[in-house]
Protein backbone atom coordinates (compact mmCIF):
# COMPACT_ATOMS: atom_id res chain seq x y z
CA UNK A 1 0.00 0.00 0.00
CA UNK A 2 1.45 3.43 -0.95
CA UNK A 3 2.48 5.64 1.97
CA UNK A 4 0.06 8.38 0.86
CA UNK A 5 -2.80 5.86 0.91
CA UNK A 6 -1.89 4.88 4.47
CA UNK A 7 -1.90 8.50 5.65
CA UNK A 8 -5.26 8.98 3.90
CA UNK A 9 -6.65 6.03 5.88
CA UNK A 10 -5.33 7.71 9.06
CA UNK A 11 -7.02 11.05 8.28
CA UNK A 12 -10.31 9.38 7.26
CA UNK A 13 -10.34 7.30 10.46
CA UNK A 14 -9.42 10.25 12.72
CA UNK A 15 -11.85 12.63 10.97
CA UNK A 16 -14.83 10.30 11.25
CA UNK A 17 -14.15 9.22 14.85
CA UNK A 18 -13.65 12.80 16.09
CA UNK A 19 -16.72 14.12 14.21
CA UNK A 20 -18.80 11.25 15.62
CA UNK A 21 -17.50 12.09 19.12
CA UNK A 22 -18.51 15.75 18.66
CA UNK A 23 -22.03 14.75 17.57
CA UNK A 24 -22.22 12.33 20.52
CA UNK A 25 -21.17 15.14 22.88
CA UNK A 26 -23.73 17.73 21.72
CA UNK A 27 -26.63 15.58 20.48
CA UNK A 28 -27.93 14.54 23.95
CA UNK A 29 -28.25 18.24 24.87
CA UNK A 30 -30.54 18.94 21.91
CA UNK A 31 -33.61 17.35 23.48
CA UNK A 32 -33.79 19.16 26.79
CA UNK A 33 -31.62 22.27 26.39
CA UNK A 34 -32.59 25.35 24.33
CA UNK A 35 -30.09 25.50 21.40
CA UNK A 36 -28.90 28.94 22.53
CA UNK A 37 -27.69 27.35 25.79
CA UNK A 38 -26.01 24.24 24.36
CA UNK A 39 -22.37 24.06 25.48
CA UNK A 40 -20.91 23.31 22.04
CA UNK A 41 -17.82 25.54 22.26
CA UNK A 42 -15.64 23.23 24.34
CA UNK A 43 -16.43 20.05 22.33
CA UNK A 44 -15.88 21.98 19.09
CA UNK A 45 -12.46 23.32 20.10
CA UNK A 46 -11.42 19.91 21.44
CA UNK A 47 -12.62 18.24 18.21
CA UNK A 48 -10.68 20.68 16.00
CA UNK A 49 -7.45 20.31 18.01
CA UNK A 50 -7.88 16.53 18.38
CA UNK A 51 -8.28 16.12 14.61
CA UNK A 52 -4.97 17.90 13.95
CA UNK A 53 -3.00 16.27 16.78
CA UNK A 54 -4.30 12.72 16.18
CA UNK A 55 -3.73 12.96 12.42
CA UNK A 56 -0.13 14.10 12.95
CA UNK A 57 0.55 11.42 15.59
CA UNK A 58 -1.17 8.74 13.48
CA UNK A 59 0.85 9.69 10.40
CA UNK A 60 4.12 9.60 12.35
CA UNK A 61 3.30 6.19 13.86
CA UNK A 62 2.27 4.94 10.41
CA UNK A 63 5.52 6.21 8.86
CA UNK A 64 7.70 4.60 11.55
CA UNK A 65 5.76 1.30 11.39
CA UNK A 66 5.97 1.28 7.57
CA UNK A 67 9.72 1.93 7.61
CA UNK A 68 10.34 -0.80 10.20
CA UNK A 69 8.10 -3.22 8.24
CA UNK A 70 9.93 -2.43 4.98
CA UNK A 71 13.35 -2.89 6.64
CA UNK A 72 12.29 -6.28 8.02
CA UNK A 73 10.97 -7.43 4.63
CA UNK A 74 13.93 -6.07 2.67
CA UNK A 75 16.88 -4.40 4.45
CA UNK A 76 17.71 -0.99 2.99
CA UNK A 77 14.22 -0.31 1.63
CA UNK A 78 12.97 1.60 4.69
CA UNK A 79 14.07 4.95 3.30
CA UNK A 80 11.77 4.53 0.27
CA UNK A 81 8.66 4.53 2.46
CA UNK A 82 7.85 8.23 2.11
CA UNK A 83 8.46 8.31 -1.65
CA UNK A 84 5.65 9.88 -3.71
CA UNK A 85 5.22 10.28 -7.45
CA UNK A 86 2.94 11.77 -10.12
CA UNK A 87 0.15 9.27 -9.40
CA UNK A 88 0.04 10.31 -5.72
CA UNK A 89 -0.06 13.98 -6.75
CA UNK A 90 -2.93 13.38 -9.21
CA UNK A 91 -4.94 11.36 -6.72
CA UNK A 92 -4.35 14.00 -4.04
CA UNK A 93 -5.56 16.75 -6.39
CA UNK A 94 -8.73 14.79 -7.27
CA UNK A 95 -9.56 14.31 -3.62
CA UNK A 96 -8.84 17.93 -2.77
CA UNK A 97 -11.18 19.19 -5.52
CA UNK A 98 -14.05 17.07 -4.16
CA UNK A 99 -13.26 18.25 -0.61
CA UNK A 100 -13.33 21.86 -1.81
CA UNK A 101 -16.80 21.47 -3.36
CA UNK A 102 -18.20 19.76 -0.26
CA UNK A 103 -16.73 22.41 2.06
CA UNK A 104 -18.12 25.16 -0.20
CA UNK A 105 -21.59 23.62 -0.12
CA UNK A 106 -21.36 23.44 3.67
CA UNK A 107 -20.27 27.08 3.89
CA UNK A 108 -23.25 28.08 1.73
CA UNK A 109 -25.54 26.14 4.04
CA UNK A 110 -24.01 27.95 7.03
CA UNK A 111 -24.66 31.24 5.22
CA UNK A 112 -28.33 30.34 4.78
CA UNK A 113 -28.57 29.33 8.45
CA UNK A 114 -27.01 32.67 9.43
CA UNK A 115 -29.51 34.61 7.31
CA UNK A 116 -32.33 32.67 8.94
CA UNK A 117 -30.89 33.95 12.24
CA UNK A 118 -30.72 30.52 13.84
CA UNK A 119 -28.64 30.10 17.00
CA UNK A 120 -24.83 30.20 16.90
CA UNK A 121 -24.83 26.49 17.77
CA UNK A 122 -26.30 25.62 14.36
CA UNK A 123 -23.92 27.89 12.46
CA UNK A 124 -20.80 26.59 14.25
CA UNK A 125 -21.89 22.97 14.03
CA UNK A 126 -22.73 23.27 10.33
CA UNK A 127 -19.33 24.80 9.59
CA UNK A 128 -17.42 22.23 11.64
CA UNK A 129 -19.32 19.26 10.21
CA UNK A 130 -18.90 20.69 6.68
CA UNK A 131 -15.14 20.62 7.10
CA UNK A 132 -15.31 17.14 8.66
CA UNK A 133 -17.49 15.76 5.83
CA UNK A 134 -15.32 17.53 3.23
CA UNK A 135 -12.22 15.85 4.66
CA UNK A 136 -14.01 12.51 4.69
CA UNK A 137 -15.27 12.88 1.10
CA UNK A 138 -11.81 13.94 -0.06
CA UNK A 139 -10.23 10.93 1.66
CA UNK A 140 -12.77 8.48 0.28
CA UNK A 141 -12.25 9.78 -3.28
CA UNK A 142 -8.48 9.30 -2.83
CA UNK A 143 -8.88 5.79 -1.41
CA UNK A 144 -11.23 4.82 -4.26
CA UNK A 145 -8.69 6.11 -6.81
CA UNK A 146 -5.89 4.14 -5.13
CA UNK A 147 -7.98 0.97 -4.97
CA UNK A 148 -9.84 0.99 -8.28
CA UNK A 149 -7.66 3.19 -10.45
CA UNK A 150 -8.64 6.18 -12.53
Amino acid sequence: MPFEEKTTWVSVAVGSVVAAAYVAAVLPQLGDTPTADIAYQRPLVIAAIATIVLTVIGSIVMAVASAIGAEIRQPGSGEDVGRTDERDALISRRGDVVGYYVASAGALLALVITMLELDYFWIASTLYLSFAVAGLASGLVKLRAYRRGF
Partner: protein
Protein backbone atom coordinates in the same frame (compact mmCIF):
# COMPACT_ATOMS: atom_id res chain seq x y z
CA UNK B 1 -13.99 -4.35 -12.49
CA UNK B 2 -14.12 -1.73 -15.26
CA UNK B 3 -10.64 -0.87 -16.47
CA UNK B 4 -10.22 2.88 -16.07
CA UNK B 5 -7.85 3.16 -19.04
CA UNK B 6 -7.81 1.65 -22.56
CA UNK B 7 -4.03 1.77 -22.69
CA UNK B 8 -2.57 -1.73 -22.64
CA UNK B 9 1.03 -2.61 -21.78
CA UNK B 10 3.55 -5.44 -21.90
CA UNK B 11 5.60 -4.29 -18.89
CA UNK B 12 5.35 -7.62 -17.08
CA UNK B 13 6.63 -9.64 -20.05
CA UNK B 14 9.33 -7.07 -20.82
CA UNK B 15 10.53 -7.05 -17.18
CA UNK B 16 11.12 -10.79 -17.35
CA UNK B 17 12.81 -10.42 -20.72
CA UNK B 18 15.09 -7.77 -19.18
CA UNK B 19 16.77 -10.20 -16.79
CA UNK B 20 13.71 -10.76 -14.58
CA UNK B 21 13.72 -7.17 -13.39
CA UNK B 22 11.54 -6.76 -10.29
CA UNK B 23 8.78 -4.14 -9.97
CA UNK B 24 10.87 -2.47 -7.24
CA UNK B 25 13.94 -2.25 -9.53
CA UNK B 26 11.86 -0.79 -12.35
CA UNK B 27 10.27 1.70 -9.94
CA UNK B 28 13.75 2.78 -8.76
CA UNK B 29 14.96 3.33 -12.32
CA UNK B 30 11.82 5.20 -13.37
CA UNK B 31 11.57 7.24 -10.16
CA UNK B 32 8.10 6.15 -9.10
CA UNK B 33 6.77 4.03 -6.25
CA UNK B 34 6.46 0.26 -6.69
CA UNK B 35 2.69 0.63 -6.23
CA UNK B 36 2.52 2.89 -9.28
CA UNK B 37 4.34 0.29 -11.40
CA UNK B 38 1.84 -2.31 -10.15
CA UNK B 39 -1.10 -0.01 -10.99
CA UNK B 40 0.27 0.62 -14.50
CA UNK B 41 0.86 -3.11 -15.11
CA UNK B 42 -2.69 -3.91 -14.03
CA UNK B 43 -4.19 -1.15 -16.20
CA UNK B 44 -5.43 0.82 -13.21
CA UNK B 45 -3.35 3.88 -14.05
CA UNK B 46 -2.29 5.45 -17.32
CA UNK B 47 1.10 7.14 -16.73
CA UNK B 48 2.23 10.51 -18.06
CA UNK B 49 4.14 10.51 -21.35
CA UNK B 50 7.30 11.31 -19.41
CA UNK B 51 7.00 8.27 -17.12
CA UNK B 52 5.98 6.10 -20.09
CA UNK B 53 9.23 7.06 -21.88
CA UNK B 54 11.26 6.42 -18.74
CA UNK B 55 9.71 2.95 -18.43
CA UNK B 56 10.56 2.19 -22.07
CA UNK B 57 14.14 3.40 -21.56
CA UNK B 58 14.53 1.35 -18.38
CA UNK B 59 13.34 -1.75 -20.23
CA UNK B 60 15.59 -0.96 -23.20
CA UNK B 61 12.79 -0.86 -25.77
CA UNK B 62 10.81 1.75 -27.70
CA UNK B 63 7.61 3.29 -26.34
CA UNK B 64 5.25 1.40 -28.67
CA UNK B 65 6.79 -1.91 -27.66
CA UNK B 66 5.63 -1.21 -24.11
CA UNK B 67 2.30 0.56 -24.56
CA UNK B 68 -0.52 0.18 -27.07
CA UNK B 69 -3.84 1.90 -27.58
CA UNK B 70 -6.65 0.08 -29.44
CA UNK B 71 -7.96 1.85 -32.55
CA UNK B 72 -11.61 1.36 -31.57
Amino acid sequence: MVRPTRVTNRIRALRFAAGEMTQAELADRVGTTRQTIIAIEQGRYSPSLEVAFRIAHALGVSLDEVFAYPEQ
